[in-house]
Symmetry: C2
Subunit: 355 residues, 2 copies
Amino acid sequence: MPAAPYAAHRKQIATILMSLGMNQDFADQTAEVLAWADLHGIDSHGLSCLAVYYDRWKKGRVNMDAKPWVVQESPVSTLFNGDGGLGHPVSIRAMRVAIEKAQKTGMAISSVRNSVHFGACGFYAKMAADQGFLGIVTTTTSNKQVAPTRGKQAQFGTDPIAFCAPCLEKQPFLLDMATTTAASGKIRNKHHEGLKLPQGWATTKDGEPSDDPLVAAEKGGFLTSLGGTEEGSSYKGYGLAAMVNILSACLSGSTLITSPMHMKQPFGQDIGHFFMVIDPGLFRDPVEFRTDVSSLCNTLRETTPIDPKRPVLVAGDPEWKAAEQRLADGIPVGEGLLAKVRKIAEENNVPWLLG
Amino acid sequence: MPAAPYAAHRKQIATILMSLGMNQDFADQTAEVLAWADLHGIDSHGLSCLAVYYDRWKKGRVNMDAKPWVVQESPVSTLFNGDGGLGHPVSIRAMRVAIEKAQKTGMAISSVRNSVHFGACGFYAKMAADQGFLGIVTTTTSNKQVAPTRGKQAQFGTDPIAFCAPCLEKQPFLLDMATTTAASGKIRNKHHEGLKLPQGWATTKDGEPSDDPLVAAEKGGFLTSLGGTEEGSSYKGYGLAAMVNILSACLSGSTLITSPMHMKQPFGQDIGHFFMVIDPGLFRDPVEFRTDVSSLCNTLRETTPIDPKRPVLVAGDPEWKAAEQRLADGIPVGEGLLAKVRKIAEENNVPWLLG
């Protein structure tokens, strides 16, 4: 697979965004978030998103000249309007502001309405941990593809949650999870590999379990909530998805995914985000706190493994490992995606940097 | 099954606790939390806990004369020491204080260390919603019974999370979930009914999937994290359990469940709790917020069901229904549990109120 150095990969994303009318500062920030995902092996949330954003922009659903603003604020809170632009710059700002407020008050929330996709939740949660704080991030999504437990009608998206806590070591505990059993990208991969789906990943349009990897994408079926089936407690994953929508949409005043106006607002996609920061120093000496988080994580890593070749991991471990390797070897991009991005670059007269 | 009226059920719990040396105020509060669980059909967290507490008290692990105190506080935070007592009274106080602080600042956290089991998380989360706020509650647990994904050694407990949001209607959205696939009580029920376990509920001591309902309780096996298997994304449930332990133990400074000192502290069980309150008025008109939460919940309830006889539910719905029925018909208690509690009452010269 072709692989380009991180710097070129990131610059290519920024130059394409600038060619679509985004200012350099916003393009650099957006490229930072997307390239971070690719660097960390989260291929579903990096360069592959750029192709999706491009299609949305051509349809007039993304404001590349967005100028987000503060709607209201208090010492512990800020509500932003994203002005219909890509969510990355306003989200970096929202998380920075929440961190600054938490530095004074001990905790803070930034809420964003009228935004678009913001990339990987984990990027923003980690910003808090990099300052010694806890970060919690949730967002609404654009695609309805999950039926609630007992239902046969899509009501939710992948509705992710990220939680990040600082450790003594450089890398924090970083959980970044969709509240579905499997992400669409993983299901697509099973199709590409000619494999059936494991039990509980998807259902038919009638809500029956299915092992067909195309059932949700092309045949009217659904992704399942974490738990997979009612007997596997999918109502928990479904409940978490509802929580994510309450935190991200109901607090910010973004359009509910269950609303008839979802994705039909005249001014854009109206995605909502939630960013929370907590200073552990409110309760304990911060070094003692980080010592305990490290102790917890390291004890978990030392758990006796079922297969000695597959040790027990802690949330974030696969990502730190991928980043180390990709920093050294470059970021691999599949031929199909590379051709798509190259076409976007050509259409917009952007110099090609990815080999 | 014998059933006693709610008032008698609650009074019986309080009178037994008082006979063990708890003051009337604390006994009333503890009985309120336990009877609330039974009233709402959460039988695993009501009267059945009293028998467990009694055993712990006889072993000197519960301080029935606890006098919890504030260790440190700020305008948005309070850290309590539970003084080794049952967790219910200090948790009611911690949630009340967090609500009072949130009424002034918009959000607040109470953290509790050196506590014991506090009953059902959902009770406390609902206290916040009853005041128009969001409530989030987590707690550590005493029993290690869950092996992390890829592991064959217990590191975690059921590590529950509750999230409650107010609606326009009287009853809020109330998610209260263990981060395991199935609770121990549900597995015990399968055994009592002579049934095998569904796929993904438990594993053998070697980490292999098992359908034996006694595998975890008596044969050295484990409960699974939500997701059930690695292929079912059990690392998400496992990640949520780690998050719960960071919020509940690392923030409060309680003994980590992974520590060699877990359940061995000289002063008690040292369970940690986390209570967070957020005022949606920080971001929006509170009525508009509740209107959106109600709209979300009601649209979910209207989802086309797979089986018209089994409609789609929203978190909390089964509990409100149970409470309505049990308020009218009394709270049923199984013969085995009833005999156990009767024995406790007799041993402590407490008048018998449950028929």
